[in-house]
Amino acid sequence: MSFPILSLLVFLPLLGSLVILLIPKKKTGAIKALATVITAAVFIISIFLLIKFNYTNTNMQFEERLTWIPQINVSYHLGLDGLSIGLIFLTGLLSFLACISSCRDIHIRHKEYFFLYLMLITGMLGTFVALDLFLFYVFWELVLVPMYFLIGIWGGARKEYAAMKFFLYTLAGSVFMLLGILALYFNSPVRTFDILELAKYAPAFTLGLQILIFLAFYFGFAVKVPIFPFHTWLPDAHVEAPTPISVILAGVLLKMGAYGFLRISFPLLKDAAHYFAFPLAVLGAVNILYGAFVAMAQTDFKKMVAYSSVSHMGFVLLGMASFTVTGFNGAILQMFNHGIITGAMFLLVGVIYSRAHTRDLDKFGGLGVKMPVYAGFLSLFTFASLGLPGLSGFVGEFLSLLGGYYTFKTVTIISALGLVITAGYFLYMLQRMLLGSLNEKWAGLSDISKVEIFTLVPLMIITVVIGVYPLSILKYQSAAVIDLITKISGVIQ
């Protein structure tokens, strides 16, 4: 067996968090340094994986398999393929950047913070590489607890409410997923939790059973994505969470749901997936438009960005529901891009919040004069977010819509109208933030600092590079997507 690099990737942060427990509380510097080093290492490993990854191969790579609980056929099975490699990279990158941001933004209870933060990273990485449903579920839930504390302790004014809501909401979804997992296990002729194994048996289930299991998984994933009407935890959680955690929430956590669809629901329950394709597409459109409309009405900057996530994840859903190669590529790319762009947006919100201590859009104005560099970054990511061609957001949306259009014409056209509304609220935001005359209250604001720029620049580079050369990231996933579509639909569309 080769070197267990995925295990190293997943458990390095956990190890780090345990080491942090040993460091005395007072030595915040050491704690921060350790956390940064660990996340940097994770990031480096993820880059290493990206380099080593053979994207023409549709099989699992860097696979690891050990028996874990033989009595119920649970195995410790990790692997990486084109669907997950991008998300691993995204997670590695965002956790590193968010860690840097945390070092600056977190002022109390450092030890606990970084302990939980690293644990959270383990959970996220694990979710993306787990190939055993049991293991998947364990990692999936492992994310919840640290997240609860991270929002609940270091959050904003309504942190307790938001944290509790997040916890309950996501748990409510995931327990149904647990039932779905069990139903898969007991209905397959060979009892196993292994996703790859189940992919051989589950597609043969009757449609009725598949629908039932699909729905069970749907609750789990829909809450995470989030799909209307299960989205209301999101604005609360995003708004109340501290900046780095908002970044992780939007950047990585939301992807877990969509990833779940691609990894589990679709390949395993393909009949049900086709059965639900249209409702999913409609929900995607609803997400896009509804999220956009609600975002437009927000006066809280962060809340607006949070709702924009709802809208953007609608494109992911639409792309996935199309069951075309294009749509899937678009969905995965959109997931990646959304992680990058919205992550950056939250960082930018954090920048302004840490200076002005308010996020009320109506109270700002004219910051373009006072903070030109900030304004530049904000504009760039805003335009990336509203899907300006040449920046990454566009490519994902385009492919999703292209795929969606192939299957669902009307729904896609309606969704495309979301582009206008999206432009509307983002520009409205820009106008209220940057343009107009400077409110004298903010005359003392300093421009964005070097560390903040350091966290934003990698995201900016990725945004632009993907925008003009999307193949750079698409190549990692395209073979896997074709393979997936072939498995689901039998034919390539």
Partner: protein, 472 residues
Amino acid sequence: MSILADLKFILPEIILLICALAVLFLGLFVKKKSILGVLSLAGLILAGLLLPQSYISGTSIFFNILVSDSFSEFFKYLFLLTAAIVILISIGYKRILKEDRGEYYFLLLILTIAMMLAVSSHNLLMIYIAIEAVSLLAYILTAFRKNDLFSSEGALKYFLFGSLTSAVMLYGISFVYGLFGTLDLSTISASLNQAQNNFAVFVPLLFIFSGLSFKCALVPFHMWVPDAYQGAPTPVTALISVGPKAVGFAVLLRIFLCDIFISTDMWVCFVTAVSIFTMTLGNIIAITQTNVKRLLGYSSIAQAGYILIGFVVATPLGIKAVLFYLFTYLFMNLGAFACVALISESIKSHDIEDYAGFYKRQPFTAFVFTVFLLSLAGIPPLGGFMAKFLVFAAAIEARFIMLAVIGVINSVVALYYYVKIIRFMYLSEPKETPILPRPFALNFALVIAFVSILVIGLWPCPVLNWINGLQF
């Protein structure tokens, strides 16, 4: 004589008895009372060591009154562990008066013996007597903070409820005797086959079930729980939340495994309803509780509901799930109560609001308490999750979909109140912040429970193997 020969099968019980008497006598002379605790622990450990030697699989002893099998061995270990952890909790618990310590440990050990006898009984007579013994001792222990009205009140309610239900159970047993002419479980089950769905059989069995429901705290026999739990000294609460409950389930299982509660539709229906009501009621009422012990009381009611799912499905997996659940439940519930004991020792309150900012005052306690609560809520990768997982797996396997759905919804509701405690401990700031000391023994109990919960969650194979190896 075979009676003397059979004594070797109850060697652990005899050891415990000797130990109990020794503790009782020493209690009169020894000044340093923690020695008594250590002695009791030593007795428990010795009994535990002797336990594997003391059974030959499936042997009936004492004229078929007891049976010595791996099933009872499992529960005996469970009780020994429970007693040991409770003693560890008690050593550091100051609210039990010093001069009563000897009696306290003595009663605890006798209670352990009674529990051990109850699970190895194979005769309703012996079952009744052992259960009654467990109950009586539990009542006394509940009242052990004798100058505290809460303690007395809890004990009295516990006693009255228990006595009445045991009278009902006794009445049921008397009918069973009339119907079958015997109280031996296997004989009953042999003759039961003809009349399994008969009203005349149903009612006496229902009475027996009621008596056991009281032990397991199933709805509607749960109402004593919060009051008794709140009133009892915390170590005793810990004990009665695990020990007698496990006895109830063990006996239910024993009777069930003898095919006595035949899985006719009526019984399944009825037990399903009880299971649903138990978990739902327990969870819902727990939401608005403000006293931690009371809250945990309701929580333990709800936990019983989950365990009952295993009975409802009545498959081998279901039974294993019950056993696994009880084993895990032991550690997490005892751990949680150990934390409550520890916290109440330091802040003299059981009010959740007084737990505010506890993380600052005893970081370790707060941390492990959080782990126990999350385990009770069923969050992976802790032991509680594995237990719930198996229970729901059993339900899904047997296609009790609705039951499983209600179960998982309940576990979400439950999360709310478990997290409520965590929220106060971590998300609020304390009014005052002296760092509080922790007694060593309690600490030790916490560590044992904590490590066990983690190990069960991450590496459940040994436990599963053990349970798989049990012969029923």
